[in-house]
Symmetry: C2
Subunit: 457 residues, 2 copies
């Protein structure tokens, strides 16, 4: 018989790393206190009241990273039935929190309005989108050009004779696809809601200002040989290595969005996601009556304001921000704007030239009221793309990954938190708010069963 382990043991002294005095042990560690992390922490704790769950966050408070950078809008108007289910149940829960529990999320039903050209409206993907919404009971309304022009006098629906518009490939507005159950909310309030509920039931004080440097991968079982784990050993993530010491747990929940690759790559798990920078620019309506008139268009919602509005071309969109009497302008750019595999803080700087050259020309062609308008504020954050634009939730080798929400994590946070809990407990179905169910492995990589999402912004 060939003996090899004794020889391995003789190869060198056992390294002392990972045997620090600061080691602490928990049942679950949740990394990241953004909307997905706190929702997951809350539902896991709620359904496993005895488990010791540690929530760790790199910044100094909940929801301060990309959650705070979002356009903070919520919609159930997706093309995939998976995203419809995730968002529709989450939004109904947010309404429940605000209306019945009485916790103000600043949720306002502004509605979402997609402005579409004839060609876009008749595209196969838009037909499928509308059919699937009908089937799922998601209400929407179609406006024609005349109705739109009547309701939004400041909307330019006619580029006849405008050579610039032609050079810019701008599609004319022929239809509006409107969802009244969509709106905006305050993501910080949402994250704080889950966090406060979590704090009521957790046994472990959450820790802020703690940066997870690496996942702690160990042989299972350990043989106490130098250089473990070897290729032929079974391995499992047993915790996290942070700048404040080692924390151990049976399961590490990663709700780290565009930073996930940095933690998963070193242990050989392909997250399938990658990030892109997104920017928001704030335009105030005060002192300009045309912008005030646009902000205050009637007929779409009870607030008497313009809905979250997506232009037909270039991915440009805006939402009303009633508290500051203005607009947030964004852009769902695609080909030509770089992916960043791992997001760094240095990248997250808004570029005024991006507003001026890419958003403003489009915006002011469709809505001349914006002519001459300059941003009073701006910020940038990281968007985390999955290949099919549907989120991931899966447990592999001790890591429970919740990410890839593709720009719509906030509006799916409740459903994703419940699914993460079902995956943690190993039950085959997750029950979403309102009683609808989803198979727990639906959003996994290995047993994924979803339609590709075509309506991302």
């Amino acid at each position: 018989m060939v003996n090899v382990l004794g020889w391995l043991a003789s190869r060198g002294s056992k390294p002392e790393a990972f045997v620090l005095s600061s080691e602490e042990t928990f049942d679950v560690i949740v990394v990241g206190a953004g909307c997905l992390g706190v929702a997951a922490a809350y539902y896991i704790q709620k359904n496993s009241p005895d488990k010791r769950i540690l929530l760790v966050e790199r910044t100094l408070a909940v929801g301060q990273a990309n959650t705070a950078m979002s356009a903070a809008a919520v919609r159930n108007m997706f093309a995939s039935s998976t995203n419809q289910l995730l968002t529709d149940t989450s939004i109904k829960y947010f309404e429940h929190v605000q209306e019945e529990i009485g916790y103000d999320l600043m949720f306002e039903k502004t509605g979402y309005l997609w402005l579409l050209s004839e060609e876009q409206f008749n595209h196969h993907s838009v037909k499928v989108w509308m059919e699937r919404m009908k089937k799922s009971g998601i209400s929407y309304k179609v406006y024609n050009k005349q109705e739109l022009k009547h309701m939004i006098p400041g909307l330019n629906v006619d580029f006849t004779g405008d050579e610039e518009a032609e050079l810019m490939h701008l599609q004319e507005v022929d239809y509006g696809l409107f969802g009244a159950d969509c709106g905006v909310l305050d993501p910080t309030r949402l994250v704080e809601y889950y966090f406060e509920e979590f704090k009521k039931i957790t046994h472990i004080k959450p820790r802020f200002g703690v940066e997870v440097k690496k996942l702690l991968l160990e042989a299972d079982p350990k043989l106490d040989l130098p250089g473990e784990p070897y290729v032929w050993q079974k391995k499992k993530v047993k915790g996290v290595i942070t700048d404040k010491g080692i924390f151990r747990a049976d399961v590490v929940v990663l709700a780290t969005g565009a930073w996930t690759n940095q933690l998963l790559d070193p242990i050989g798990i392909d997250s399938m996601t990658k990030g892109k920078k997104r920017q928001l620019f704030v335009i105030h309506a005060e002192d300009k009556k045309e912008l005030q008139a646009l902000l205050e268009v009637k007929g779409f919602n009870e607030l008497g304001c313009i809905p979250f509005t997506i232009l037909p071309s270039a991915g440009v969109y805006f939402r009303p921000q009633l508290q500051e009497h203005g607009f947030w302008i964004g852009c769902g750019d695609t080909f030509g704007r770089e992916y960043k595999y791992i997001q760094t803080d240095d990248d997250m700087v808004p570029e005024s030239a991006y507003y001026e050259t890419s958003m403003y020309p489009v915006l002011s062609k469709y809505f001349p009221a914006f002519q001459g308008a300059r941003p009073v504020n701006s910020w940038a954050g990281g968007y985390c793309y999955s290949p099919d634009r549907i989120p991931f939730v899966y447990l592999e080798c001790g890591v429970l990954v919740v990410n890839g929400a593709s720009g719509s994590g906030i509006m799916k946070a409740d459903a994703l938190g419940r699914i993460a809990d079902a995956v943690y407990r190993g039950v085959s179905e997750a029950e979403l708010f309102g009683g609808k169910k989803i198979l727990s492995n639906t959003l996994s990589i290995k047993e994924r069963n979803v339609e590709i999402e075509s309506v991302i912004i």
Copy 2:
């Protein structure tokens, strides 16, 4: 009418980058002279004889990067019918080149031998694998334990009483799955064959020692405004920016394997691939009669040597290297070994500890002849994973990407070169060697139609 372009023009002076005197223009630029690049260049030139095709390569000769680092083995024994078709037709073409054209590729039919435990052999995925091979007419043979023991006396098929083997989770050998049409070849010879054929028909001298720094993305049409291309413009890759100047072309073929992300990420195309380092270690059989006996086992092939052999556990494999009378040892490690999103030269260093701790213990348990054997040589290269372990070939916005071969690019090179040509010419089907056809969009991202490959090494 709102005028915006004049205002954009006034924003600043036009940048002078990309207007260098060294600019040259071609019809096609092929980036990367590895096996996929030269095969693509050859077939595109062959079927478009008038097109001016420039082949550029960072190193100083063909096939010097990861092509040269491979285990240089070829097999048609895949589980997906797509990979079966790509490899079976390519290998038949290699045989044709060697036997009929008379160009020696050093192709030797050693065969491939998977050693499997009872449990592995009866696994659903292995059943599917065998069924699909039958259906595709790929011949294989099953050996039982007694037959294997008889043919390879040096193979240990019994770990009874070996506590170390149990601690190491080693599966016992119960079956052998053998493919006689598989073997090894010299990848440098293969790349040189395509390159010589390409040189006979190309109008443009290939350039070596040229590093592509960026893809040249331009607005289409250009408006000659500062900071183009903007988000609202149509855009296209119009060439490459290299350390030796700008080269322009209608189509840029990227055959850059594990370096592809570095070029595609900045223009916002997600390659869906990522890399991992792989290492090979050379063991000589001379001076050790047990290793000589193992190298020279009879009955599997006409060469009278051990086949390319995959052990049941830990992904360890070896192949015979008859010219140097020895073995190349490799390992298809999985979870626990890091992914590298972009491959750097610095990473590509073999680690002796990897052989000693991860390969050697497994190897010597199954084949005690390796006991005490130490490598006389080693190297490392980059493996380029696709999510379904099937290659990508697609043309998007001026870039024709050929990558993601998942460790089996050499054995698919002929088929992938022909498919790249069909995609370039915009024809719906590619004809592979022997007359079999495949839809040109089969390997695209957007219209992908493949089975997931389960048999990767």
